[in-house]
């Protein structure tokens, strides 16, 4: 039995969620009738069991890697087998995939568990759980596949599940619109992925990472620049970077556990994973990498400033996610992949926690999301409040919380890496400063102060608070996985666990310890000082009114810099115009008449042709003779030629 499990661990990790999806999908018609707590709990239990099984398999896989195996490889089946091209579903669990699977299945399990409580009042939550399991399957496929093509399948699969879950409450057209927007914006990025795959295949004849790694060489750097640009474009779509970030805040229309799992912890980090996986391409294209770093820094600032003026609790967190993803892209752009993966992990902890906490608040307030109508929830929701405080401390980077280590590592990388610069460092610091302000503003508006609209929420049940507590623990201590080397030795730890772990798979950044303008300790000190200042400013500025001191700036930020309006004017309206034109001319004039023309044409030609079939025996005989002569003539002609 244990051999059976152990020899095919990647298979178990990947397919248990798919099994949960199929099971929930099959029993859905039974469970869908009427609102029933038991039925929802049953559906949820199936989903949670599938995810927990997957998590156990992921832990077993991690242990095998920790004991020294380089990677676990399982071939599931060969999909395409041509003479010069073969691609199959081959699972490859190496150290990078292992970190990702642990995050996906671990946090996924917690969020599935939380969803049982959150979705208990819904009608037919089996659909929700089925989609959620399908999402986890797609995400695991994305991180486990050993070739780009199946990564792309996972990439599309998570996009599909994101679409399905954003529009879970499809009765309201706003939700359906948000889902469509997310899907369409993602498609723009996906085009880059497809083109990059085509280019790589045309040049190297393979899409397998290992083979690409061995064939890519500095001679083809000019060609790889195109590939890198396209892959970066794909990543901006999925990971909500400027200029394709606009779908993520709208995606908050879905149920909150979806926002926590898909739009904070896992799916949006797919771009970062792609960078870490394809590092051998990006390392050869420094120009693209600096664009990536600057895009990340810009996105971090953009998201951070917009989050200052949002009033919807989930919108604040959404823009905060955009901002934090910007940090990760900043790190990847500098070549500090391990810092990006580290921040990806800590961000998954604290942002999932913050989202679930926000969900708990929304659940307690009967669906209210506007923070102007909250306030004073500290007393009603003590567990949620404390866990949210821990999560906020982590995202603000207060010392020893997880975000402190990961964010400081990125900030240090911004000035100590060869490609870093003071500009990037300053942008990162400013974004970190903004993080503190908007986080305090969110806490101030929802938990502290006096209750405004007289909402008397109730604390969520244990099934929801337990994941909060586990995540709060992780968000608090998770940072110790990445203590900087210098400090680790002083603290008696073995070293920077994450970077040591990833070193065989992903190149670990070489920090310029001596040449850096500021030492790592100084960077931490400045970042923490800025965070504290941010907290104090936020506390005093948003004590009584929640707008920014400058009303014009507040309006600009609340309207998200009018980017959506800009895109509407630039892309959406012209597309509508073209569509209208096509429907009025091409469709109304041509396509609709085409059917009539075809019918009239066949009737007319049939009328002409039917005279041939006159019923006269001798005409038939003549035609027969003609045909025979023709055949004889042709065959004679053919033999002569």
């Amino acid at each position: 039995m244990s051999d059976f499990v152990n020899s095919n661990l990647p298979l178990w990790i990947l397919f248990l969620p798919l099994f949960g999806f199929v099971l929930n999908g099959l029993v859905y018609p039974v469970l869908a009738k009427g609102v029933s707590r038991t039925k929802n709990i049953l559906a949820g239990s199936i989903a949670v069991a599938a995810m927990l099984g997957s998590f156990v398999a992921a832990v077993l896989g991690f242990l095998q890697l920790a004991q020294g195996s380089a990677a676990l490889h399982t071939s599931v089946y060969q999909w395409v087998e041509l003479s010069d091209f073969s691609v199959g579903l081959n699972l490859h669990l190496d150290r990078l995939s292992s970190v990702m699977t642990l995050i996906i299945t671990g946090i996924g399990s917690l969020i599935h568990l939380y969803s049982i409580g959150y979705m208990s009042h819904e009608k037919g939550a089996a659909r929700f759980f089925a989609y959620l399991n399908l999402f986890c399957f797609s995400m695991l496929l994305l991180v486990l596949s050993d070739n780009l093509l199946f990564v792309f399948f996972g990439w599309e699969g998570v996009g599909l599940c994101s679409y399905l879950l954003i529009s879970y409450w499809y009765g309201e057209s706003a939700n359906a619109d948000a889902a469509r927007k997310a899907f369409l914006v993602n498609r723009v990025g996906d085009l880059g992925f497809v083109l990059a795959m085509c280019m790589l295949y045309a040049k190297f004849g393979t899409l397998t990472f290992a083979q690409l790694l061995s064939q890519v060489s500095p001679e083809s750097a000019a060609f790889l620049t195109g590939v890198a640009i396209l892959l970066f474009f794909a990543a901006t779509g999925k990971s909500a970077q400027f200029p394709l970030y606009v779908w993520l805040p709208d995606a908050m229309a879905g149920p909150t556990p979806v926002s926590a799992l898909i739009h904070a912890a896992t799916m949006v980090t797919a771009g970062v994973y792609l960078f870490a996986r394809m590092h051998f391409v990006f390392e050869l294209t420094p120009a693209v990498m600096s664009v990536v770093a600057w895009t990340g820094a810009l996105t971090a600032l953009l998201g951070g400033t917009i989050a200052l003026a949002q009033n919807d609790i989930k919108k604040v967190l959404a823009y905060s996610t955009v901002s934090q993803l910007g940090f990760m892209f900043l790190a990847t752009g500098l070549g500090a992949y391990h810092a990006a993966v580290f921040h990806l992990m800590t961000h998954a902890f604290f942002k999932a926690l913050l989202f679930l906490g926000a969900g708990s608040v929304i659940h307690a307030c009967d669906g209210e999301q506007d923070m102007r109508n909250m306030g004073g929830l500290r007393k009603a929701l003590p567990i949620t409040h404390v866990t949210m405080l821990l999560g906020s401390a982590a995202i603000m980077g207060l010392p020893l919380f997880s975000g402190f280590f990961s964010k400081d590592e990125i900030l240090f990388a911004a000035e100590a890496m060869p490609r870093g610069s003071m500009g990037l460092f300053a942008a990162g610091l400013l974004a970190a400063f903004l993080t503190a302000i908007y986080t305090v503003r969110m806490l101030q508006m929802s938990f502290w102060g006096k209750a405004r609209k007289g909402i008397h929420g109730h604390e969520s049940p244990l099934v929801m608070t337990l994941p909060l507590m586990v995540l709060a623990l992780l968000a608090t201590v998770g940072g110790f996985l990445g203590v900087p080397h210098e400090w680790a030795h002083r603290m008696g730890l073995s070293g920077h666990l994450i970077s040591d772990w990833l070193a065989p798979v992903v190149p670990v950044a070489a920090f310029d310890m001596e040449g850096a303008p500021l030492s790592e300790g100084m960077v931490s000190l400045i970042a923490v000082a800025l965070s504290v200042v941010g907290i104090l400013i936020g506390r005093s500025m948003f004590k009584n009114n929640f707008g920014l001191p400058l009303p014009a700036l507040g309006r600009l930020l609340e309207a998200k810099y009018f980017v959506d309006e800009f895109y509407t004017a630039l892309f959406v309206r012209p597309l509508y115009k073209i569509g209208e034109l096509v429907s009025k001319t091409l469709e109304a004039r041509l396509l609709q008449n085409l059917g009539t023309w075809m019918g009239v044409g066949s009737a007319w030609s049939g009328d002409r042709l039917r005279t041939l079939q006159g019923g006269d025996l001798q005409v038939f005989a003549l035609i027969l003779l003609g045909g025979l002569s023709l055949i004889v003539a042709i065959s004679l002609f053919w033999t002569n030629v």
């Binding site: 019923g615 006269d616 025996l617 001798q618 005989a621 003779l625």
Partner: protein, 100 residues
């Protein structure tokens, strides 16, 4: 002139006459006779070639054709009997209901 050429010309002439009878005459009986004429034209051609090439195959083939022709006229005549019963005539301009 060589007898062979004459015989070939005769066989071709027989075939053409048969063809004309089949395609032009309205009487189905005459059409059947035309078919027989065509078959015999072919037979003559076979026999002539057999004589010229000094091979027995052609003459052998003729026996088969004569047998088939006998069968064909038996079937054809019985069809004609039925045609006459159904249409009251064996002229082809009356039996033209098979049309589009």
């Amino acid at each position: 002139m060589d007898t062979g050429i004459l015989l070939h010309c005769l066989s071709a002439w027989l075939l053409c006459m048969g063809l004309l009878a089949v395609t032009l005459r309205r009487n189905t009986l005459v059409m059947l006779m035309g078919i027989e004429l065509m078959l015999n034209g072919v037979n003559l051609s076979f026999v002539t070639f057999s004589r010229e090439l000094a091979q027995i195959n052609g003459q052998l083939q003729v026996f088969f054709i004569i047998t088939i022709a006998a069968v064909e006229s038996a079937v054809g005549l019985s069809i004609l009997v039925n045609v006459y019963r159904n249409f009251g005539s064996i002229k082809t301009d009356r039996t033209n209901t098979l049309r589009g």
